[in-house]
């Protein structure tokens, strides 16, 4: 297969995916008719408030939807050119070859009793077996060190021997990223990958994810509440509200071209350094109120 063939097939194509949760006798729609397609190297950001369904959408796409009260429907779901059926909800998260995920909560997604090193090495060896590239244990250790260094962990030997609870929240998140990327995925789904990291480091981690996905031609889905980051690093932004996709815009133009008032409000909510001298931060409600009072907005 030539390179053009690869770029012609999207890494992932999702059409009208919906997820419902049953609570008591009622069924709530957590995601309604979400559709997107990503070519290799594409970066998509999914943004929305908590409860908007962005995590449900990303974990269902990943095949990690295992809630017993969930029901999934979709018109089409293709990954790497092959159709997959995500309407079957497995009792345990279902791993898909070539798809990695970084979770919001690194504490519960890492194996608590294995050391970081053994978790990372097991992924490296599984991956090397899959790709037919034989590596010795010694090489695996060396590669594990390299991966930890690449995600900004300097004292790799200490971290390799540590268990997840011995690390700080930010360190755990970086370890998660190293584990996810070392599997050389075709698609990486990152759910709030940087929300536990400080500003300078979250930029480093985003840049690292971008560089590595560009290198390997993998597509990237970033689920985040940090609009600044996704405007900077994503190609396209899906804005979700109450399970609906309310805006689907290229990241370059969303600041000026956001059609939905909700998206415009979200953009105005981002706290800045100038917030040090204000009494109250803008919220969606206050923005909506101010907008309805502003005469020029009323006129338009």
């Amino acid at each position: 297969m030539t390179a053009t063939d690869i770029s012609a097939t999207p890494v992932i194509r999702v059409e009208n995916l919906s997820v419902f949760y049953r609570v008591g006798d009622e069924e709530h729609a957590a995601v309604t008719n979400a559709s997107f397609a990503l070519a290799p190297g594409d970066r998509l950001a999914i943004v929305g408030e908590s409860g908007s369904g962005k995590t449900t959408l990303s974990s269902t796409v990943a095949g990690f939807q295992s809630a017993p009260n969930a029901r999934v429907t979709h018109d089409a779901f293709e990954f790497d050119g092959k159709p997959l059926d995500r309407t079957v909800v497995h009792r345990l998260p279902h791993r898909t070859d070539g798809l990695s995920m970084v979770f919001q909560d690194a504490m519960t997604s890492l194996e608590p009793v294995w050391t970081v090193g053994s978790q990372l090495i097991s992924v490296l060896r599984t991956e090397s077996k899959r790709s037919g590239r034989k590596i010795s244990r010694k090489d695996a250790v060396r590669e594990a060190h390299e991966w930890l260094n690449r995600v900004g962990i300097v004292d790799a030997p200490r971290v390799m021997g540590a268990r997840p609870y011995e690390l700080s929240g930010g360190m755990r998140q970086r370890v998660m990223l190293a584990i996810a990327l070392s599997g050389r995925p075709r698609l990486l789904i990152a759910d709030e990958p940087t929300s536990a990291l400080d500003a300078s480091l979250s930029r480093e981690v985003m840049e690292l994810m971008v560089t590595l996905t560009e290198e390997t031609g993998a597509a990237l889905i970033i689920v985040t509440h940090d609009l600044n980051l996704c405007l900077e690093y994503a190609h396209r932004v899906l804005v979700m509200k109450d399970g609906d996709v309310v805006d689907d815009e290229p990241a370059k133009t969303i600041r000026t071209g956001a059609k939905d008032p909700y998206t415009q409000g979200l953009l105005a909510c981002i706290p800045t350094l100038a917030s040090v001298s204000v009494d109250r931060l803008p919220t969606l409600e206050s923005i909506a109120r101010d907008a309805s009072l502003a005469p020029e907005r009323l006129a338009s």
Partner: protein, 265 residues
């Protein structure tokens, strides 16, 4: 409601916290001294691993300092925490909202049970009175009372974070310690919660310790600000001064990182 209550102070003197064995000793918090007051809001910023969460845990008595003392109104906190009555006193005065709400709630109890329990235990309220206070707080926090019948795992992270805040405030603490309360939340919810916490602390005469890596949010909510780096305090001053005229190179680089991301976005 404005209640003028006696001032409460927490004083930390030369506090250290070490982890690891003697051979591989690692100081998470290294010789930190600070004073917290129920009339001020103190922001603590620093990158991950800088020791800010460990410091927060020590300030509420959840971790013992390896060296140094932490005094709550002149009483040693380690000593207080070792006695049942002292522990209650400590809990009544200082409350914490933890970073990770998915592990700080009992997964088998409903949210209502979780939130009203501290009011019953620490303030001696009857179940009816406690429920009434819980409902009041939930209204302030814009939470649907119907959600209280759910278990912690059945609500979203943002909702759970607000329940966690309600659980701390139902005690009517004099000092509230917030460890990364908004970092995992969406911007719109962040604003609502930060505004709420700021107003609540002013109205209820409650001191605030706000631990976060998010510089803009911390600057907004704090009167004073501390910047931590590798377990030490590297910058200390009024929040406005720290943001506008940082002295330490680390603070400067942090502020620069924010300025560039704001400009490029």
């Amino acid at each position: 409601m404005t209640t003028s209550r006696a001032r409460v102070t927490i004083t930390a003197q030369g506090v250290q916290r070490h982890y690891g064995s003697r051979a591989k000793r690692f100081a998470a918090v290294d010789d930190v001294s600070l004073a917290i007051d129920s009339t001020r809001a103190l922001g603590i910023v620093g990158e991950s691993g800088s020791g800010k969460s460990t410091l927060a845990k020590m300030l509420v008595g959840l971790e013992k300092p390896t060296a140094g003392t932490i005094l709550l109104d002149g009483q040693d906190m380690t000593d207080m925490a070792s006695r049942t009555e002292g522990m209650r006193e400590l809990r009544r005065t200082v409350q914490m909202v933890a970073q990770d709400t998915s592990s700080s709630f009992d997964p088998r109890k409903t949210l209502r049970e979780a939130v009203r329990r501290p009011a019953q235990l620490l303030r001696g309220l009857s179940q009816t009175d406690a429920d009434a206070e819980v409902d009041e707080l939930l209204a302030l926090l814009d939470l649907d009372p119907k959600l209280t019948d759910r278990k912690p795992g059945q609500v979203s992270g943002g909702q759970r974070q607000r329940f966690s805040l309600a659980r701390a405030l139902v005690v009517r603490p004099r000092i509230l310690v917030c460890d990364e309360v908004v970092s995992a939340l969406d911007v719109s919810v962040q604003g609502t919660i930060l505004n709420f916490v700021k107003d609540y602390c002013l109205e209820h005469d409650c001191g605030l310790v706000f631990v976060s890596h998010g510089l803009p949010a911390t600057a907004f909510i704090s009167d004073d600000m501390i910047v931590m780096y590798k377990g030490k305090i590297v910058e200390n001053g009024l929040a406005e001064d720290v943001v506008t005229a940082p002295r330490h190179p680390y603070t400067k680089s942090l502020i620069e990182a924010y300025s560039t991301s704001e400009q490029s976005a």
